[in-house]
């Protein structure tokens, strides 16, 4: 109990800092410099949880805020900017119909009907992509994050067939020429591998919150779902939230507060 409480306090402190410090550090508009290289000490201060999750205050999202989060994410992770059907995206926006196609809402509240929802990998508790991957290139960490080991991916795209949320993108071509905002501290990908949101595992490891959470300025709440005292559990206790396609049985860790 004690340790989870300590973790909570630490997380809360970092959350507060994170919100205040949005778009500081090497994610600024200027090209990054090695001055910000994370040190071993930073890595000792990594954030830990039993089950990372995210709550989305969808009413706070405008297309502009989604674009801001998307830019922050795609810059941090060197996501290439490829137009058309072979697009690669970690964070994007979609209508209610597209986000929750199994809900088939009729006579919907106008504000919800016309709202854009931020979409990202759901970091499922029972991820289909992990189950189907023949090389364990996609795997689940003990803290619930569904990660990709790009070194191991053979590009069979079975995970894309398995994912009910369209969260995965395949590098049909070399992504490097399409990277607009470049972050030298994070690797790029090569063509022929699949990629997706990693819940900013590389930032959690140095005690920072996911970059979309920072950019969203409170519209995204990130925390430990298994900790009753966490911000995210508080948000879910106080607000009605749904998950995308719950009957696909994958149990998403991203909750949408309507």
């Amino acid at each position: 109990m004690k340790s989870s409480r300590r973790k909570f306090i630490k997380l809360a402190a970092v959350s507060a800092m994170g919100i205040g410090a949005a778009r500081l550090g090497f994610l600024g508009d200027a090209p990054a410099l090695a001055g910000d290289l994370p040190t071993a000490t930073n890595f000792e201060e990594g954030l830990k949880a039993k089950h990372w999750g995210m709550a989305v205050f969808s009413a706070k999202f405008t297309p502009e805020l989604i674009a801001k989060c998307r830019t922050a994410c795609h810059t941090e992770h060197n996501v290439p900017d490829i137009a058309g059907q072979k697009e690669i995206k970690w964070f994007w926006g979609a209508s209610y119909e597209e986000s929750f196609p199994t809900e088939h809402g009729h006579y919907m509240a106008e504000k919800v009907e016309h709202r854009q929802f931020p979409l990202l990998c759901n970091q499922c508790e029972a991820p289909m992509c992990v189950k189907v991957c023949p090389t364990q290139a996609t795997f689940q960490r003990p803290d619930g994050i569904v990660m990709m080991d790009f070194h191991r991916c053979i590009g069979c795209r079975y995970c894309m067939a398995g994912c009910p949320f369209g969260a995965r993108s395949f590098n049909f071509q070399d992504p490097r020429p399409f990277i607009k905002e470049f972050n030298p501290l994070f690797p790029t990908r090569m063509r022929g591998v699949v990629e997706k949101c990693n819940f900013c595992a590389e930032r959690l490891a140095i005690g920072k919150l996911p970059v979309c959470v920072e950019a969203a300025e409170g519209a995204l709440v990130f925390g430990d779902l298994s900790d009753e005292q966490s911000d995210i559990r508080k948000a879910l206790r106080e607000n009605f939230a749904i998950r995308r396609k719950p009957d696909a049985g994958t149990s998403p860790s991203v909750y949408y507060i309507l």
Binding site: G84, Q85, K86, E87, I88, A94, E97, E98, S99, P101, T102, H104, M128, K131, V132, C133, P134, T135, Q136, A137, R152, C153, I154, G155, C156, R157, Y158, M160, A161, G162, C163, P164, F165, G166, S169, F170, N171, F172, Q173, D174, R191, G192, V193, V194, K245, A248, G249, T250
Partner: protein, 397 residues
Amino acid sequence: MLEKALKGSPRYWGTLTALGMVMLLGLGFWLYQLTFGMQITGLNRDVSWGFYIAQFTYLVGVAASAVMLVLPYYFHHYKEFSKMIILGEFLAIAAVVMCLGFIVVDIGQPQRMLNVLLNPTPHSVLFWDMVVLNGYLFLNIIVGWTSLQYFKNDMTPPKWVKILAIVSVIWAFSIHTVTAFLYAGLPGRHYFLTAIMAARFLASAFCSGPAILLLLVLFLRRLTGFDPGQKAINRLAVIITYAMCVNIFFFLLEVFTSFYSNMPGHMAPLIYLFQGIDGHTMMVPFMWTAVVLGLGSLLFLIPTPIRQKTPALVTGLIMLVIASWIDKGLGLLIGGFTPNPFETVTVYSPTIPEIMISLMIFSLGGIVLTVLWKIAIEVRVEVEGGNLSMVPPPAAE
């Protein structure tokens, strides 16, 4: 016996050269794909599997269909199939070779393929598919080759060959079942998510595979005078007819469940395939062609007097093969991925390079098949005497 593949008529070498040329042409396109990546295909973020994997799936069926000869022969001692069985086994080898080829060209990092063996993952169906396909390839090579060797030496094959043949029967069911499981367990793909997927796969395999075999055998009879026996042909045609009826029946079960239940997700792929969604009607002409040809083939195949006439049989079989290919080699994958996870339509159609690379693999299969069948027939000619020149006899019919 391999030496029999090294001597042949100009026609034999001409066939191999022609197939080799097509293969080389396709190879050029494959190098193009290896250099520029999968962007040269029509695949996209939403339809992430397409023509390659569809051909793979269809050919797994063709490979499994050898069982329609092996099973009656070994389980029921139906000796009429003795002349054709080796052709079935060798067709299975060629089909599995093509299957593996389609996997190789489909994956984004083929040089890392052995990661599947380095990190064996029992919870992935793809891992098991690799196991069963390679196992089936070796079973057919061993059983086919050894039986032929013993036949050549005028000896009864050893008992272990029979045991392996029986294993291969069960194995054949497993390859297509596991291939169906690749699809049938995916929660977000309504067209795939059906308990009778494996049964549908087997039914369509057991009609289309033997149909291809029978067409090839009838062609062979015309070309070389090799006669598998009218009784065997008739019996195989009956098997094909039953399997096609079951195949159509299973498909109608899908239609019933989707539309009577009125569940939007289950209806959507069928509506897309047969009617189009949001003006995207690319698949509609193909699917209705499949319906017409599929039902039409039964008109030629069900009435015994018609079925037993070779031209009618050939017509029926060609219709059947086209219909089953549209269903499985086109509709299955596209329907499975459309509508996409956002319930919108992303159109996929294979590109020219994709089709050329597929032709490369089909030619490779054609070469394997030509060589293997050449050996099988030469051995039979050597043992039973007859038409060594491979010129058709005056009255083949």
